[in-house]
């Protein structure tokens, strides 16, 4: 599905990713944990193709294609989805219009007919219910005035509608209470079908109680310093990152 080799990237002249390696097979769930400034969010942005995130070295193969050569929108059309840590508010563009354009861009890429307004509305309503957002959220401006939890659920709703092959969840649990966390986790779990892969970026083990990972990777100073199974996340929860012998002074400044 996704193979990252020797990835180096920088933002604003600052090296963030240093020799990052990661391989993800279809159907797998990989959790990425790590201290602040480790490069977790940067990884999500680099993979989705955000402007200003400069790749210095390395390769990323996504389903047999060179991901780094693709435009942002093409990566999405090929099935890569990033659930934002801080979803952007866009007043004036309705959530409905936004998602319909988006879903139809995917369909067009697959050579399918665009959905009619009625067909889309039906799907959107179902997805809206699934993440327990009131239906009037479809009519509101994209993320406009949404609470933190509502924004996260809106991201999951988009994921459900877009049916990506690789989902990157960037701290989809941050700022959520237990109920909202469960809604987000249920949304994610409903999309696990043995083929779709997930990268779950999180600070806390808590989310992983709900979304059980196949692998847990610890990212520090821009590279994977330790990989293991779900028990690694539990160990971190109990002991912190200290046992990995990380240079905490650099962490704090990063």
């Amino acid at each position: 599905m996704l193979t990252i080799k020797n990835l180096h990237a920088r933002v604003e002249q600052k090296n963030i990713l240093n020799n990052l390696n990661l391989a993800i097979k279809p159907g797998e769930v990989h959790a990425i944990m790590g201290p602040n400034g480790a490069g977790k969010s940067t990884l999500g942005y680099v993979l989705s193709g955000r402007e200003g995130y400069e790749v210095l070295d390395g390769q990323v193969d996504f389903q047999g294609q060179d991901l780094l050569e693709m435009e942002t929108e093409d990566r999405a059309r090929h099935g890569l989805f990033l659930a934002f840590q801080y979803p952007v508010e866009i007043p004036g563009v309705s959530n409905m219009e936004f998602m319909k354009e988006s879903v139809n861009a995917m369909r067009q890429h697959r050579g399918e007919e665009p959905l009619t307004a009625a067909e889309f509305l039906k799907k959107a309503k179902e997805a809206c219910k699934q993440v327990q957002l009131p239906l009037d959220f479809l009519k509101r401006g994209v993320n406009e005035g949404f609470s933190g939890g509502e924004k996260k659920r809106n991201e999951i709703m988009q994921m459900i509608l877009l049916e990506p092959t690789l989902c990157i969840l960037d701290e989809s649990d941050s700022g959520l209470d237990v109920d909202a966390l469960q809604v987000v986790a249920n949304g994610v779990n409903s999309q696990r079908d043995g083929k779709r892969s997930f990268i779950v970026i999180t600070h806390y083990q808590r989310l992983l109680d709900y979304i059980e990972p196949d692998f847990v990777h610890i990212l520090a100073n821009g590279k994977v310093v330790k990989s293991g199974d779900a028990s690694l996340a539990k160990q971190i929860e109990q002991e912190g990152y200290a046992f990995l012998g990380l240079d905490t002074s650099e962490e704090a400044s990063a």
Partner: protein, 419 residues
């Protein structure tokens, strides 16, 4: 004195009708007007060179000038073509309380009323307003009796076609507690010159929903004006949509002439290619307790040029005035230009007043968010920019009109976004 203005005065002197006294005053003012140059403050960013060089003798293919109905808007349509009223007013089936007459058919009684409006609301300093005073051919007088609520929107369409010069005038009187909707649509794209000025008097507690669609494009030169006088508790909700042409300017004046009057003015301009659009607005708060909310948003792409000058003048007696003026612009191209100037002049000490003007470029973060969902860059630009003005379009009380406008505005974007 420019040669162009000289011939206007000569032609104006040749017109003899019941408006002659008013025309004479305008001609007198024009004779004493110096022709604007780039040093004239109110014309600093709008050059009149295109007008000076205008040649209407050039051949241009006559374009079909059909008037499309607006779906869902059962309008009472009045059509001017090159300044000449095409609609047979006698054939109109008017609701009770509404009278529409043209200068030729106006009765002596109405002439007296019309004279109290003609050039009485429009300030004297508008150069092309004076030109319109002097040359206006068909003057339409819309009279709405007090307490009459006219549900059917009155739609005035003025078409300009190639090789023509035209000047039309609309006078509107809303009696006390009267209500009406006025849609003014001006369009044309060929080599032409047109002026269209409207003066509206809103009686006590009268309510007017007003739209000015300044849709001249291409070679058409257009000077428009909307001038409102608001009496006690009168309520004006006005929306302006501006396209640009080689030379297009609209002046808006709102005078709070009674206490507790409310004015809401939303304006949107959307310019591409080398279009020019100039909007000057002046709100005069002459009486206390008035409210003004003015939102002006513009998008400028390609080599287009937008000018906005918004002035709010709060007179000494206009205590407890609430006035807000906001102008936001989005510049899509490095070659485009936006000149904006909000002005507040406050002589009363107990008022709340705010103003602001911004010129922004595309928000990269929002663009990235849309693209990360598979939406192409150009499509995302259209969506984002349209969102910027959609907020004002959504506020239009007549949503059928808004829905009719939407695809046209979007189409303008798409043309603008060729990268």
């Amino acid at each position: 004195m420019s040669a162009w203005l000289q011939q206007v005065i000569e032609r104006g002197q040749g017109i003899d009708d019941w408006l002659s006294p008013a025309r004479a005053r305008a001609l007198d003012a024009l004779s004493n007007t110096s022709w604007p140059t780039r040093c004239t403050e109110s014309w600093k960013y709008t050059s009149l060179t295109a007008l000076e060089q205008l040649d209407l003798t050039a051949e241009s293919a006559e374009q079909p000038s059909t008037v499309e109905p607006i779906p869902g808007v059962d309008g009472l349509d009045l059509v001017f073509k090159n300044g000449v009223l095409q609609t047979d007013l006698a054939q109109l089936n008017l609701p009770a309380g509404l009278q529409i007459t043209s200068v030729q058919t106006t009765s002596a009684v109405q002439q007296v009323i019309a004279t109290t409006l003609f050039s009485q609301i429009k300030p004297k300093h508008h150069l092309f307003g004076l030109v319109n005073d002097a040359l206006a051919g068909d003057v339409l007088f819309i009279d709405i009796e007090q307490n009459s609520h006219i549900g059917q929107p009155i739609r005035i369409i003025s078409l300009s076609t190639g090789g023509h010069e035209s000047h039309h005038r609309v006078l509107v009187r809303l009696g006390n507690q009267a209500k009406a909707t006025l849609i003014e649509q001006a369009l044309g794209q060929q080599n032409s010159l047109s002026t269209g000025f409207t003066e509206c008097d809103l009686g006590e507690q009268a309510e007017l929903e007003h739209y000015r669609l300044a849709m001249h494009t291409g070679e058409a030169i257009y000077f428009g004006g909307c001038h409102f006088c608001l009496h006690h508790h009168a309520n004006l909700n006005s929306t302006l949509i501006g396209y640009g042409s080689q030379l297009s300017r609209t002046d808006i004046d709102i005078i709070h002439n009674g206490e507790h009057a409310k004015a809401k003015l939303n304006a949107v301009y959307l310019l591409g290619e080398s279009e020019h659009f100039d909007l000057h607005s002046t709100i005069e708060h002459a009486k206390p307790n008035g409210t003004t909310e003015e939102n002006v948003r513009g998008i400028v792409g390609d080599k287009a040029n937008a000018v906005f000058n918004g002035r709010i003048h709060i007179h000494r007696d206009a205590q407890k005035t609430l006035a807000e003026l906001n102008n936001r612009n989005l510049l899509l191209s490095r070659r485009g230009q936006i000149n904006t100037k909000p002005e507040l002049e406050i002589y009363a000490d107990d008022v709340q007043c705010a103003h602001g003007a911004t010129v922004a470029e595309i928000e990269e973060e929002a663009l990235y968010y849309l693209m990360s969902r598979g939406i192409s860059r150009s499509k995302a630009l259209v969506m984002l920019n349209y969102g910027f003005i959609q907020e004002l379009i959504n506020q239009m009380p007549n949503q059928q009109l808004a829905q009719w406008l939407e695809p046209q505005l979007r189409a303008r974007f798409k043309e603008m976004e060729v990268r």
